[in-house]
Amino acid sequence: MTTFIQQLVNGLSVGSIYALIALGYTMVYGIIKLINFAHGDVFMVGAFVAYFSYTVLHLGFLGSLIVSMAACAVLGVVIERFAYRPLRKSTRIAALITAIGVSLFLENAGIIAVGAQARGYPSMLPSRSINVGGVTISVQQIGIIVLSVVLMVILQYIVHRTKMGKAMRAVAYDAEAAQLMGIDVDRTISFTFAIGSALAAAAGVIYGAYYSAIDPLMGIMPGLKAFIAAVLGGIGIIPGAMVGGLVLGMIETLVQSLGFSLWRDAVAFALLILILLIKPEGLFGKHAREKV
């Protein structure tokens, strides 16, 4: 039983990282129907910005986190402005390929800028751990979970209680009608990218702190997995991404604790294919009939 709870806690930490990245995927998909493949690399950039803010500028954990989230918010807006906006009217394939292109660009520009080898990440949070009835919980894990919950609550507040959030929901529902009602669609989309990228940056920081190593290609796998999480919950649905991320994290930790850690990635993708076959609209999605 304690082992199970232990794995649950581990899964919760990994899952919240996935959930934070998945939120960005799901919001961008919800609003412009684009799988933003570069999202995983924004996550990587976030981890690196925090790394340099912490080790070079000595900004401390919170300072580095905020600098990294701000930098990535700007990066997300820039990517949207220069790579995706010109393609808003063209085919989905063109947009998707652009997204992959941006992703490759960030990865390889990252390799040129900081080198391909992995770097040790500073342990930004104290490495103590507490023991609750045989279950060991590290301060890092608590930090990860608390931070994720706080960010998700803020996100929910923005989306449901602010004017910008209302605009986001309107554009996601029907961009053209929103425009007719006087909503600045371009600005709303930029804002969505900013928020999504900031969340990815936060995920990057806690990923680095949790696994204590970062490299320019670190965004690929978590990025794909977070996308799986978004699909799992129903892409375009914000609570779906949170739940999807947590579920995926739990399943992965479970597979790993059963001794199949080499098969972890395959299980994640098999899960994705399974969901798509059984319930393509995801756990929280509603089935919409295609009209001709």
Partner: protein
């Protein structure tokens, strides 16, 4: 009707003209290689070009002509490469039967992934095929029989003739398929699935058919590449390779066979020239990609085909098209 038949390779005359051009090209390149004018490094680039032509043309059948967005093509190539390698290196089978079995195995893989997933559309299909490619890679990494992550060595069995004729056959088969009744059905599925269904086209059948044929030739390319470069490892068939093939197809033009050939030649050359700076290569490559998508999203050729009559070879199509 005449308008419809205007595609290149449709008429008999034009068909043999293309075959003639293909054979002349073979003779020229073959002579250049034999006489050492194309050195062994350049020859490798030529080999890679042939392989890329096979991969791109076969992926174009799925993505360009049938409109099914697949980004796991390297997964099928991996099936072909590993099956053929196991057959020749571990079971001492001659190369040709191994190649055939490998191609069939890849086609079966295409069928297996195709039947359940082709109900999915667009982005979802893309991500599923991507997942499929990843799963194949994870399986190969964990399979100690074929060397796991370290890979395995294979006999060298192919030469320029093998690669060139495999590419030629691929192009001929897929071009003929595309211009047949089945090919037109595939194009109808691409244009509008629901409307195609209304016209009595069995949409699922044609999707799976295109998928399997595409996978079959990807398997051929995989088997040939394994026996050309005589070393295979799982990471050679990852997402990046699938993506490379996709880029060739999109660069050349989705729905243009001559475009895919052109794309394969151009992109292989670009890659080869940037070889010495692998990191800058990828940065330049990704920038080119984004710029092409922004300024010419339909690719170099769009859905048009390059026609021999454009350079004065062969008669003009409309003179010949009268029944």
């Amino acid at each position: 009707m005449q308008e419809k038949k205007r595609g290149a390779l449709a008429g008999r005359w034009s068909f043999w003209a293309w075959i003639g051009v293909g054979l002349v090209l073979y003779a020229i390149i073959g002579l250049l290689i034999d006489n050492g004018i194309i050195d062994s490094y350049m020859a490798l680039i030529v080999y890679q070009m042939c392989l890329n032509v096979i991969l791109a043309v076969s992926l174009n059948l799925i993505n360009g002509f049938t409109g099914q967005f697949s980004i796991g093509h390297a997964g099928f190539a991996a099936v072909g490469a590993y099956v053929s390698a196991v057959l020749t290196a571990k079971m001492q089978l001659p190369f040709f039967p191994a190649l055939i079995i490998a191609a069939l195995a890849a086609a079966v893989a295409g069928l297996l992934i195709g039947i359940p997933t082709l109900r999915l559309k667009g982005d979802y299909l893309a991500i599923t095929t991507l997942g499929f490619g990843q799963i194949i890679q994870v399986i190969l990494i964990n399979l100690q029989y074929v060397g796991g992550a370290a890979g395995m060595t294979v006999h060298k069995e192919t030469n320029f003739t093998w690669l060139y004729f495999a590419a030629l056959i691929t192009v001929v088969v897929i071009a003929n398929f595309v211009h047949s009744r089945h090919g037109r059905a595939c194009i109808a599925v691409r244009e509008n699935e629901v409307a195609a269904e209304m016209m009595g086209i069995n949409v699922t059948y044609y999707k799976v058919l295109a998928f399997s044929i595409g996978a079959l030739f990807a398997g051929v390319a995989g088997a040939l590449s394994a026996h050309t470069f005589y070393f295979i490892k799982p990471t050679s068939y990852g997402f990046l390779q699938s993506f490379n093939i996709l880029v060739i197809v999109v660069l050349g033009g989705l729905g243009s066979i001559t475009g895919s050939i052109l794309g394969a030649v151009v992109l292989t050359l670009i890659t080869a020239f940037l070889q010495d700076y692998p990191q800058w290569q990828m940065v330049i490559y990704s920038l080119i990609l984004v710029l092409i998508m922004i300024f010419r999203p339909q690719g170099l050729m769009g859905t048009k085909e390059f026609r021999l009559s454009a350079i004065g070879l062969g008669r003009r199509r409309d003179e010949h098209a009268a029944p």
